[in-house]
Amino acid sequence: MSPIGKTFAALKCRGRGGFIPFITAGDPDIATTELLLIELAAAGADIIELGVPFSDPVADGETIQRASERALRNGVTLRDALACVRHAKKHVDVPIVLFSYFNPLLKFGEERLAKEAKQAGVDAILVTDLTPEEAQPWIEILVQRELDPIFLVAPTTSDKRLKEIARQSRGFIYAVSRAGVTGARDQMTDDAEALVKRVRSVSDLPVAVGFGISTAEQVRQVWHFAEAAVIGSAIVREIEKLGKSPDLVKRVAEFARSLLEPKETSQ
């Protein structure tokens, strides 16, 4: 069983939902990203998604677009993101999902990436603009290196494709809560729950729900029907707000904790 598989098995034993924060590598700088990985794990992250900055993030809303821009202004590359994982993994063993658009990976070289990502301690890779139809030989390359290929499913995904995506996925399935780009929203729709039900009918893999989840209440809502909640823009927005503040890492970790323990935030 992969580290991600073990994580979900442990969560099931404890009867708890999973918490998956997302941050962009190099935002606000790569040294802080390394500390954030460590402190987010300490704050209760079960898995962390690490975004590779890209110049043209079509699936992302403004918050993550800006994070990508900040990281690129810092000259952060895929190689830096991998180094960051390697360093952080000396301190924590939280599973890491690399979250990227396809072009930077393609440029790096698919074989080389799989090898170096595995060595750095990455556990899975999700490529936002890569569907299983275009993902050969990508999937085999990952599986050979014991990396989990993770794919997205969306409310618009047909049952036929859902089955195929589930067949190609390892670790977990990432369900996009609603049609749209990433970004915090006030309301959850019923789309997410309906989608997760459809995934259940074709797969035994755990399901993580993301896109638009930003509050402790929404995290709990998701835990009623899925194994884990992904929180991206809400955390990235905190990082943006804190800017170069010296206690950024501490306060982002506090924010993460508040998503897990709602009572502390009501003070």
Binding site: D129, T156, A179
Partner: protein
Amino acid sequence: MQKSQIMRSEPDEHGHWGKFGGRYVPETLVAPLEELSEEFTRARHDNDFWRELNQLLRDYAGRPTPLFHAERLTARAGGAQIYLKREDLLHTGAHKINNAMGQVLLARRMDKRRVIAETGAGQHGVATATVCALFGLRCIIYMGAEDVRRQALNVFRIRLLGAEVITVNAGTRTLKDAINEALRDWVTNVHDTYYLLGSALGPHPYPLMVREFQSVIGREAREQILSASGKLPRALVACVGGGSNAIGLFHPFIADEQVRLIGVEAGGRGDSLGEHAARFHTGANSGGGRVGVLQGTMSYVLQDPNGQIATTHSISAGLDYSAIGPEHAFLHDNGRAEYIRSSDTEALEGFRLCAKLEGIIPALETSHAILPAIQVARELPQDDAIILNLSGRGDKDVHLVADLKK
């Protein structure tokens, strides 16, 4: 790849020309793209669809466009006869309406009431706003802030036609960023929105579909040149941004191996990355000659060594784009088409030459192809002919050229 396949240049059922093309998109867009593919396939085999489209292109857009024998440009070249395919005479002033009209009929068949589009030079924005006005559809045009500035006349035209222009301030604030924003809109509003993409780019089925709607240029030109000169031309020359006017002219000639297909990219103001929009430019530090994935398709993409998409520069907004349509990438790699580049300065010279010698003010995009056409004609005997695709008229650029003279 079989030779017969190259000579037909047809993609497989998933939109791949060899390794190029395909559908690299966020999952949410797969379903609407499949729906669009199915509707396009049905329409493609539906005689009523083509009857209606052809009638609209004739009565509303002004097809067929003339093939004009440009005698003074020919005299200047001193070689083969130069013919101009006058797409600039179409309603709205460029070839863009061929595609916009075809796609708006699809939007109507699919019962989508909200149409979105990106635009660079503004010609596709104007064409889309026009056909939406004609059919009473809501229309939203995304345009980069830099293009809004340099193509102010077209922004005004789009608004006059009842469409909304959304200025995009992200990234390089040009065509690429307008496409990103249009894709984000589409991913959010998939249920009621039709994305009317303007070039032979993006995820399948757009490159194929846009080519099919633009191939009317080449079909007409082929008949016209045969009746004018009794034989096929030796070469076709067209500017290439995304590549829709070029592929529209080239495609009906692909099996005619003796006809050279020459695409002209924007050489901008220099050879280094960021100074041009020549995707096939393999010079040192040019950033060209690299295969990548941008905005849904695999093709040649200008990018840095880390796979970040490069900024581009061209005097013409319509050519100022980091990637090229996947079918061009395919025709480049199999050698069927050739791609060269013209600088900003050469484009301006072509612009003035065409105005003075033929009384035709071409778009700055089109202007890139004029000096290369003269060069190609010069090397051929006088009893041969070449066709230059005069893809758009230059009214929109007069202001910009006047400012440069100051």
